[in-house]
């Protein structure tokens, strides 16, 4: 909670202090790492978003995209990135070096679910247990919804993926998990509910070939995190832009494309259940 108070204090800066902050901000090159926690394959949209963030914050924002969570997580831990949109799982594993900057709101809540999906034509599978001996698609090994949660389910059953499934593989992306299940390559898969719902809106032809078998309880939505050493003025400026997005026209349009309702402040406590689950499943 002390972080939220700090953010509020930042918001109450006087005009004299603001002028000095502007000096720091001016020309600051902010590198934001993006992971496939959302549909990151929309170049034109990302450019619009980048320009929006730069103009509103006064920072020189650049996006860095990597295909795995792990690369982004390592880079921000190693200070090569300033901000990253990470899954809750890698965040909790490096939370001592990272601060939660903003948490997206999906359907009005800063939470999401892990979906277990099967082929739409597969009426026989009634629960996760029925996937025994089948082919299963995980998204990223460091994804909560696409990997940790199903492994948690298996852990509760006292099984490992290698024992339980005939074959399992990683697609390194939530969207591709949906494609793998839709094409029949995998019999089942684990995917971020947010990505599945967004896909259902913009590419219903893919999701229509899949069926949601089970939804996990709500967990903290993948947050924007800042490296520990990021100047406060910069972090604050960026937070203001995120929090204000839903209040202005272009921001609202960007949120519409992201299928998000806005950004709110957050802290580690929102992700404590994920941390607990890692400890349970992986023993670390």
């Amino acid at each position: 909670m002390h972080r939220r108070a700090f953010v509020l204090a930042l918001a109450a800066f006087g005009t004299s202090r603001w002028a000095r902050a502007a000096d720091v901000l001016n020309g600051f090159e902010l590198r934001i790492g993006l992971t496939p926690v959302f549909l990151d394959d929309q170049a034109a949209f990302l450019n619009r978003w980048r320009i929006y963030l730069s103009e509103r914050s006064g920072l020189r924002v650049s996006f860095v995209q990597r295909s795995s969570y792990r690369e982004i997580a390592e880079q921000i831990s190693g200070q090569a990135l300033d901000v990253a949109w990470l899954c809750g799982y890698p965040y909790v594993m490096a939370q001592e070096r990272l601060n939660v900057l903003a948490v997206p709101l999906h359907l009005g809540r800063p939470e999401y679910h892990s979906y277990l999906i099967v082929g739409a034509d597969d009426a026989a599978t009634a629960g996760f247990e029925d996937l025994a001996g089948k082919v299963f698609a995980f998204s990223d090994p460091n994804s909560f919804s696409g990997s940790l949660y199903p492994r948690f389910l298996l852990h509760r059953m006292g099984r490992s993926p290698e024992q339980f499934f005939r074959r399992s593989f990683f697609t390194w992306s939530h969207r591709k998990v949906v494609e793998a299940v839709a094409s029949g390559l995998a019999d089942g898969g684990a995917v971020a509910g947010y990505v599945w719902e967004t896909l259902a809106r913009i590419h219903p032809e893919i999701t229509v070939a899949t069926r949601v078998l089970a939804r996990s309880p709500a967990y903290g939505f993948p947050p924007f995190v800042a490296r520990a050493g990021l100047p406060r003025e910069v972090a604050m400026a960026l937070q203001q832009v995120f929090f204000g997005m839903r209040a202005d026209g272009e921001g609202a349009r960007l949120l519409e494309t992201l299928n998000l309702d806005g950004f709110v402040p957050g802290d580690f406590s929102m992700y404590q259940p994920i941390r607990d689950m890692v400890r349970m499943v992986e023993g670390r």
Binding site: V135, A137, R166, R167, F169, F170, T171, W172, K176, A180, S183, G184, L185, A186
Partner: protein, 483 residues
Amino acid sequence: MLRFKDLSFRYKIPLRATFLVLITAVTLTSANVAREYDQLRNDLFANAESLGSVLALTLVTPLLHDDLWRAYEIIGMPVRHEPQAALGAEWLLVLDGEGRVYASTRPREHPVGVSGSEVGGSVARLLADYDLPALHASQAVELADASEFHLLMPIRFDGVYLGTLVLAYPKSIFVPRFHSIVVRGALVTLLVLAVLLPMSWYWGRRMADPLVQLADCMSRVGERIPQMSECRLYESRDEVGRAGTQLKLMLAALREKEALEQQIIASERLAAIGRITAGIAHEINNPLGGMLNAISTYKRHGQPEHATARTLPLLERGLLQIKETVAALLVEARLKSHPLTTQDLEDLNTLLQPHLSRRQVRVLWEGGIAGELALPSTQVRQILLNLLLNAVQAAEAGSEVVCGIECAGSVLRCRVSNRGEAIPAERLNQLFEPFVGAAGEGNGLGLWVTYQLVQQLGGSIEVYSNAMEGTVVTVILPLEEGA
């Protein structure tokens, strides 16, 4: 039922030409299709091989790292992004080192991790027929009853066998190409036909027309022999031309024969008539002589009463008329006469004069005779007089009758011609028969007598008559030998 062999050559020749063009077109199109098939098949396997070798190289890393999704994306690329018209693969399949399905672009048909020999369709047969780990180069496979061509491409890394890439191409991939070739072939055929058909019809007609004319002309030969002017025959030295020439010769011979036959028939008839009339005339002559003698005796010695005296001359005149007629019928050459001289011809001219002035017709004498001719003058005068009187009678008023006389070798040729209405053809045949002449033209015995006289002199008589030249009678009399 019209059979082809009954058709006229006019149609047969063009139809055969059309048939030939069609055969040629079908043959050429088939050859094209066959060549195109080979070409396409080679292209297909060349394409498949280059694609397969690139994919096999690309698949090494995912296979080594066991990255199923990456392998799936790699093999999905050509299926997803090849345009439909190109020689696109139907499906691709990666079998791992143990022959299990690693990834397929048709995961529902080829489930991940299932042994290839348990997968339906052609995969199991490929596995059964080929020892995949032993394969060192790509292998094109055409299973007879499968609907696809296959290319087997081993995936090797550093000599180690990792798996096999199978590319499947539908055999129906050629159908649109074949379709377009056949359509193109049909179009070209139609074009060629459009050009060749009118030509072949034209040439066919040109070849057939002489034959058709020949056949037409020959089919007219039946009850009568066609005139040469009725048959248009093709003139040339080829076979048809020669047949035409031969036909002309045959027709001419036929016509000659026919004329001869008719002549024989006519003269036989006249001879028969002559015999009958002579017989009847003799039979009449005998009682007639008696009757005339009786009347003469009665007139000289009898005392006839008034009525009888008036009747007897009537009877006598009637009997004399019968005697004259019979005498005319009985043309007897018994009369002795002197040889023919120019004087006889002049006498004829004198005899004709009254008739000429009445009809306003002139006689033109041509030729003549020199000295005496060994022919009985009485008969010759009778013949010429009869002919000239007929000619004058038939001549148009104010026209000329021509009498040509010439002595040629051992014959005397007399030619009497006049202008005027032609003698109808049906009368020409019976011209010399007695009592045939139209009413009011004498007793109809003139030409009969003439004919009999000519016959007795061993000569011939011919009549030629048409509207243009009038009527010409030609008499040929042989001179008596030793006279």
